[in-house]
């Protein structure tokens, strides 16, 4: 083939430059709390929830394990998955309930949010 490798590489990068980034994927991977929450709930509420969980970890280092040691066992939302994608609808109150497996046993958190103003 006569294609110059560097030209082919440039064309590949040009295509990458226009690739559609997934806006928010409902992908739940059961082994990383941070990734799951950020990715599954991309939006204001997701960041709020993440900050909440991180704060828990930071404020209580003796009790809260590293994030990677946590596993989401359940993530239940009342109409939250769609709500967080829409700025207007995200003002609605949603509920999250996450159960975490930690080094100190199961930990359950229930949170409500209305966008980031909760």
């Amino acid at each position: 083939m006569n294609t110059q490798p560097e030209d082919a590489l440039k064309r590949f990068y040009e295509a990458c430059a226009h690739a559609q980034a997934p806006a928010h994927a409902h992908r739940i991977q059961p082994h990383s709390l941070g990734r799951n929450v950020v990715w599954a709930l991309a939006g204001p509420a997701a960041v709020g929830l993440m900050l909440g969980v991180l704060s828990l970890s930071e404020r209580r280092p003796s009790r809260a394990p590293a994030l990677s040691a946590m596993t989401i066992r359940q993530l239940r939302q009342d109409d939250a998955m769609d709500s967080v994608a829409d700025p207007r609808r995200s003002q609605r109150v949603g509920q999250f309930r996450i159960c975490l497996d930690t080094w100190h046993g199961p930990m359950s958190c229930q949170r409500r949010f209305s966008s980031c103003n909760a």
Binding site: E6, L9, F12, A15, Q20, R35, V47, S55
Partner: protein
């Protein structure tokens, strides 16, 4: 339901992080895709970078160039991830290319390069950085940038022609 204090107290901070993430996420994804040539790896990198941005949220208001800082985090994540998860390229990317076979061949060739080489090729060609900018982004001397870039180009060419 009882409202948890720290959740509401960080609303403003949360807004800032969310706005920054919303703005940067497409750029992070495209850079990661250029560096990894794998959708799955690129998505993982976006998640990891998002998490690191949130962890470093207190630095955000003081950054002069948030993208340069985010790019360094992205590079670190790509280098840390080491392996590339084999997975199909996105349809919109393939559809945009005049020669899909060539695109797949480039992705396959990139996947066999070392992370160092994939990263420096993307910085030089995809991001169009100067040697000085690459030196800063990679935290290596300018002279090393030149030699690493030449090695990466040569390696890519060798693997391409071997295929």
């Amino acid at each position: 339901m009882r409202q948890i204090g720290w959740f509401g107290a960080q609303a403003k901070e949360s807004d800032e992080v969310d706005n920054l993430l919303r703005e940067l996420r497409p750029r992070i994804y495209r850079l990661a895709l250029a560096m990894c040539a794998s959708v799955e790896s690129a998505e993982d990198i976006v998640q990891e970078v998002s998490l690191r941005l949130i962890r470093s949220r207190r630095k955000l208001p003081h950054l002069q160039d948030p993208w340069a800082w985010t790019r360094r985090i992205t590079i670190r994540c790509v280098l840390d991830s080491r392996s590339v998860a084999p997975c199909p390229l996105p349809q919109d990317l393939i559809a945009r290319c005049s020669d899909p076979d060539e695109t797949l061949r480039v992705a396959a060739t990139l996947a066999t390069l070392s992370p160092d080489h994939r990263v420096i090729l993307a910085l030089a060609i995809f991001e169009g950085l100067s040697y000085e900018e690459m030196s800063e982004a990679l935290n290596i001397p300018v002279g090393s940038v030149g030699s690493r870039l030449n090695q990466a180009r040569e390696r890519f060419r060798t693997l391409w022609e071997k295929d």
